[in-house]
């Protein structure tokens, strides 16, 4: 506690809006965006570039009998038609997924979900490519699909993955965490046990920019340049080398401006591989840009967990244990993008922010005839599901005990002196000071006043709900001894060069998709080395220009790469000290650093600035013995632990009793992400996630009919919040630095996506208390709320 506390005193006293150096500075990347001069993948135009379009399966499960491409090939503007059989000849018909499964690039034997890639056309323009798709004749033998995840393991269920040798069922994995025996014992002895079935429906990240790529293979020097919508350019380069068999030093992945990612742009999709194959085949640059339906139908979905939650407590509200059984729908291929040691992502943090005696989770994952994916949509590797489960269960317990949900949480939150805290499922929470965060949210919301207002309204028959959620996240994957993706450790590199005139270039392995890295990372380096952020160029998104690292997702940029940026700057500063000692003719130990300059201890008039040191580093004259010229450094930062941000959210809803329409009237979010670098950017990240929460809680779902047709294949059907569905957000913060992170920062990019759905659902259920509703599943559309009001809340799947 003391280390954490001291740091807070030292850094933040009376200065919380400018916590780190340049604080709330405006973004360095904005001048190009507000002029329409960003460069997204679809903006890339190369001479002679061809366009690729993909033919997709119209049905969810069918054997391919034949594919006739002759009519398409005969079109004058068509340069090539590629099928799975052609790829198979080159060993490219299947590719590895991020979870050590395989996925078809183009189907050779069967199609396994509606929208699966079957063939592709390469043509002179995008319209001609689309036209030719209509001329490809595919004959299918329709098979019975597996759509209801609950029946996927029935003995007579059709086997989806008969491509896997010896596979006789649709089982993907079983996974468990915690202590089953100890948990059973606590449950058996508990005063109160509440059980609730909870569904987190399948949703989709739907970034506004869909996925796409421009592949440009040079047959003379064998180099592939690949512009792609990727959150992880270095990981993609290595995977492309593995998939396409190209040497890795001949692959350059360029991830230019990215129009939102949210996890959707982590995996390698078949379209990328098709673009590469098409460029090799035609000798021309090839662009593939999916349309919105393709994005919703085929790329990484999120969630799709069917959970049974159980919570055990004493009669006076001491939470003792949580137990859960999960059925996970992984779609037709296990494409989960998570550290391989964590097949269920970080769902193991379902114990939440509470001090429990025991916890246990058992999970079964299955294949169904739906698109692959599972880890996406700002989920922090499944922490969305974990937090939703525990925060709904705590509210169910409060309902059962007739306790106020805030009172119940305050009684059970971890205390500050319990950190670092090891959960019953083995996660080591680095730091936390939970109660002040919840109290701050209550103060901002005016919690007591809201409850009074609610009582008055209830008496008049009006439906007002107040929902509370408290979350702890685990972000910043991760320590390489515990975490890798396909064998690639999750450490991140960083390089810093200070040029002779004292201007600097910092090169990152992570990849912004809107998070503002060009600003935030300049601020981190500026703070450490004293060069103004305006004089620091942040380079990212090009594997030939940047050091290796695993990219941006799971809120890992600041926890991992942010640590690297601070440490590489300190390494440069250490070298600058040696050079300064020569310039001032004193021992290095006799120098003191004051932001931007070294001076002789006890004599501040004898000083050299970092800019003067930089010029000397490259200039004439001798340097101290053993010191090389130049002022630059590189580092690979392997984080010792994840960081554990937390937050308290309070949502107020009004429900129209005549239409059952939910209106989010207010939303108060108090986040604690440790040291705050740029509060403006942090608040922006929080606002984004809160909007995700409104979408998921009230509007969004990828539904399927019994034949496996996706019923949300466009933005007409997959409903995303507009400005009319969300309130003006009310944000606050507390600061509990991470004790192990070089600047005490924690991730924040996904906190609000994790924390807001339970707050909103808790508010809706609270509003429906007069109807005896203890739980209703998302999305809480008017029809589903209407059913709940009439005592008939149905699961969405």
């Amino acid at each position: 506690m003391s280390a954490v506390h001291d740091r807070r005193q030292e850094t933040f006293e009376n200065n919380d809006q400018r916590p780190l150096g340049h604080g709330r500075m405006l973004r360095k990347e904005d001048p190009r965006f507000i002029r329409g001069k960003g460069c997204y993948v679809d903006d890339v135009q190369l001479p002679g570039m061809l366009h690729l379009a993909i033919l997709r399966a119209p049905v969810a499960h069918a054997r391919i009998l034949s594919i006739d491409t002759m009519a398409a090939e005969a079109q004058p503007k068509v340069k090539a038609v590629i099928t799975g059989a052609m790829l198979a000849e080159r060993g490219l018909a299947w590719m590895p997924t991020l979870s050590n499964d395989v996925q078809a690039v183009l189907a050779t034997d069967k199609v396994r979900f509606q929208g699966q890639e079957v063939a592709c056309v390469v043509a002179e323009d995008r319209y001609a490519a689309r036209d030719a798709l209509e001329l490809i004749d595919v004959e299918y033998d329709i098979l019975q699909p597996v759509i209801d995840v609950r029946t996927a393991l029935d003995p007579n269920a059709p086997v989806i993955r008969d491509d896997l040798e010896g596979k006789a069922n649709n089982h993907v994995f079983d996974w468990q965490t915690g202590d089953a025996t100890a948990t059973d014992a606590v449950f058996a002895a508990a005063d109160v046990v509440v059980t609730q079935d909870i569904v987190y429906p399948r949703v989709h990240p739907a970034p506004l920019e869909t996925c796409g790529a421009v592949a440009d293979y040079d047959p003379i020097d064998g180099k592939l340049r690949m512009w792609s919508t990727t959150q992880a350019p270095h990981a993609h380069r290595t995977l492309l080398a593995m998939v396409a068999g190209l040497p890795e030093h001949k692959i350059q992945v360029i991830s230019p401006d990215i129009g939102g990612g949210f996890g959707n742009k982590v995996p390698i999709y078949p379209g990328y591989v098709c673009a590469v194959a098409a460029s090799i085949l035609t000798g021309k640059p090839v662009k593939w840009m999916e349309d919105r339906s393709e994005n919703l139908l085929s790329t990484g979905f999120a969630r799709d967990y069917i959970m049974r939650g159980e919570i055990a407590a004493t009669r006076d509200g001491r939470i003792l244990a949580i137990r859960t059984n999960v059925l996970a729908d992984h779609g037709a291929f296990n494409g989960t993008a998570a550290p391989v040691q964590y097949p269920a992502g970080f769902f193991g943090v379902f114990t939440g922010s509470y001090d429990l005696q025991a916890a246990y989770c058992k999970m079964t994952a299955v294949y169904t005839n739906k698109a692959p994916g599972g880890v996406a949509y700002a989920c922090s590797f499944r922490i969305t599901e974990a937090v939703y489960l525990v925060e709904r269960m705590v509210d169910c317990l409060a309902y059962t005990l007739k306790m106020d949900p805030v009172e119940l949480r305050l009684k059970n939150l971890l205390a500050p002196d319990q950190f670092p805290y090891t959960t019953k499922t083995g996660w080591v929470y680095d730091s936390g000071n939970y109660e002040p965060t919840l109290r701050k949210a209550m103060a901002l919301a005016g919690y007591e006043e809201l409850r009074r207002e609610q009582a008055e309204k209830r008496a008049r028959g009006e439906l007002m709900g107040i929902g509370v959620a408290f979350f702890t996240e685990a972000v910043g994957a991760g320590p390489r001894k515990h975490m890798d993706i396909l064998g690639l450790g999750m450490a991140d590199g960083c390089e810093l060069r200070v040029h002779p005139t004292g201007k600097a270039v910092v090169r990152l392995s992570v990849q912004t998709q809107g998070q503002g890295h060009e600003t935030t990372f300049a601020q981190i380096v500026a703070e450490e080395i004293g060069i103004p952020p305006a004089d620091i160029e942040v380079v990212h998104g090009d594997t030939d220009q940047t050091p290796f690292g695993l990219g941006t997702y799971g809120s890992r940029s600041i926890p991992v790469s942010g640590g690297a940026a601070a440490l590489v700057a300190r390494k440069v500063r250490d070298k600058a000290r040696l050079i300064a000692s020569g310039m001032l003719e004193v021992a290095p130990a006799d120098l003191e650093w004051q932001k931007g300059a070294f001076h002789v201890a006890g004599d501040p008039t004898k000083t050299v600035t970092i800019q003067e040191i930089a010029f000397r580093a490259y200039g004439a004259g001798d340097l101290p013995e053993g010191v090389e010229g130049g002022l630059e450094a590189q580092i690979v930062y392997n984080p010792p632990n994840l960081t554990y941000p937390h937050g308290a959210y309070i949502c107020v809803v009004d429900i129209d009793p005549g239409t059952a329409k939910v209106k989010v009237r207010r939303f108060v979010a108090v986040d604690d992400c440790g040291t705050r670098i740029n509060p403006m950017i942090i608040e922006g990240q929080v606002h984004r996630g809160l909007t995700d929460g409104v979408g998921m809680a009230l509007m969004e779902i990828l539904e399927f009919d019994q034949d496996g047709n996706c019923l949300a294949g466009s933005l007409m059907d997959y409903l995303i919040p507009t400005a009319l569905e969300v309130p003006d957000w009310e944000t606050g913060f507390t600061v509990t630095p991470s004790p192990h992170h070089p600047i005490g920062a924690k991730g924040v990019g996904e906190s609000a996506t994790v924390g807001s759905p339970p707050a909103i659902v808790n508010a809706v259920v609270d509003a429906l208390k007069p109807f005896g509703v203890i739980h209703a599943d998302m999305p809480l559309t008017p029809s589903r709320v209407w059913d709940a009001m009439r005592g008939n809340p149905q699961p969405p799947i």
Partner: protein, 157 residues
């Protein structure tokens, strides 16, 4: 077929297919890539441009239909090196993150302020409700447009 229209104050003539969408005409034929494409169904609004001073979704307008008309895109907001107050507002109030919806949002905002120089928050939300932003949660976009309204008023007085 041949189409002639005025884009950002300059007359352009091109040979096009009759089915060509205005968004693709602007992006692929004129290289004006500030106008984006994000859905197939006129829901997202990343493609909003002006057609005779009215915001339209250029994914739902044929290039041929713009023949003889005036089109204005995000590239024309900055005049003689002076940013439009809407552009400045978006920078000042963090009204953008990934930047993909931003051009469309700004074109709608400019049109709104031209007809209502002092819009309320509710009016602004209504005006941009045909457009989606996945990053900002809209609050900062609303503030950006209010910033522009307030600063335009200051400039005028």
């Amino acid at each position: 077929m041949q189409v002639t229209m005025t884009v950002n104050g300059e007359e352009v003539t091109r040979e096009i297919e009759g089915r060509l969408l205005l968004v693709h005409f602007l992006r692929d034929h004129l290289g004006l890539t500030g106008t984006h494409w994000g859905c197939d169904t006129s829901n997202c609004g990343t493609c909003v441009v002006w057609l005779d001073r009215e915001p339209v979704k250029s994914c739902t307008v044929l290039a041929a239909m713009a023949g003889g008309h005036e089109v204005r895109t995000v590239e024309d907001l900055e005049q003689d090196g002076e940013l439009d107050p809407v552009q400045r507002g978006f920078m000042e109030c963090h009204g953008l993150q990934c930047g993909f919806c931003t051009p469309g949002m700004m074109m709608t905002a400019r049109a709104l302020l031209d007809r209502d120089p002092d819009p309320s928050e509710a009016t602004i939300r209504e005006a941009i409700s045909g457009q989606i932003c996945r990053c900002t949660g809209y609050a900062t976009i609303v503030r950006s447009i209010r910033w522009a309204a307030v600063h335009e008023k200051d400039l005028a007085s």
